[in-house]
């Protein structure tokens, strides 16, 4: 079965510091997508960053970057220069190509607190 594990239920970071959120996944597929979504208190799911498994280069979006280790099935999110607005629940998601529907399998989430 395809599973996504986020082992850190909660993390804290000082404003302007850097934090890394962990995600591991289990799959026998070779082609898939990985995503990080942010869920602030408003509960909306907001796409932060995505990574295609066939790309070796790690994705970056401004202050957000990933460390994608395909062999280790690891997909961590690094947030640099943390801001108060980054406080939210962060979900890692896996989506296999072969499903055809591109459904997501989510992890259980990591709650990020940003301390002023």
């Amino acid at each position: 079965a395809q599973t996504v594990t986020q082992s850190q239920p909660e993390m804290s970071v000082q404003e302007a510091e850097t934090v890394t959120l962990s995600c591991t996944y289990d799959t026998s597929e070779s082609d898939y997508y990985l995503f990080w979504y942010k869920q602030p208190p408003s509960r909306q799911m907001i796409l932060v960053i995505r990574q295609e498994a066939y790309k070796q280069q790690n994705a970056t979006e401004n202050r957000f970057s990933v460390n994608f280790q395909k062999a280790a099935k690891s997909f961590s999110l690094k947030i640099s220069d943390s801001q108060l607005g980054d406080a939210a629940m962060y979900f890692c998601a896996y989506s296999p190509y072969t499903s055809g529907t591109y459904k997501y399998i989510f992890g259980t989430g990591t709650r990020l607190k940003v301390l002023a």
């Binding site: 408003s42 509960r43 909306q44 799911m45 979900f91 529907t101 459904k103 259980t108 989430g109």
Partner: protein, 112 residues
């Protein structure tokens, strides 16, 4: 920026009643989804919809659930006879290509 719109934002219903959750996906998107998030738990896939039919559904999506696209713009999730355990946040999402979904802001369903 285009949005996925969900209504209502919060619905309270009596156990055993039927509810319809409504979504307006982004107009040029072709793939539509419903996900559920029970409070404090992870987001779970319910169903995907493409070309006016269900393309995949999860084991959660039993006979009590149905989806339809009645008029080419709205995308609805119906729960026929609600149970207490149906209380959750329900998210609609749509996508154009494999880039990633756009989620709506969700409907909080409370069954009493």
């Amino acid at each position: 920026e285009p949005e996925v719109t969900q209504t209502p934002s919060h619905q309270v219903t009596q156990m055993g009643q039927e509810v319809i959750l409504r979504c307006v996906p982004i107009s040029n998107h072709l793939y539509f989804y419903w996900y559920r998030q029970i409070l404090g738990q992870k987001v779970e896939f319910l169903v995907s919809f493409y070309n006016n039919e269900i393309s995949e559904k999860s084991e959660i999506f039993d006979d009590q659930f149905s989806v339809e696209r009645p008029d080419g713009s709205n995308f609805t999730l119906k729960i026929r006879s609600t149970k207490l355990e149906d209380s959750a946040m329900y998210f609609c999402a749509s996508r154009e290509d494999s880039y990633g979904y756009t989620f709506g802001s969700g409907t909080r369903l409370t069954v009493v």
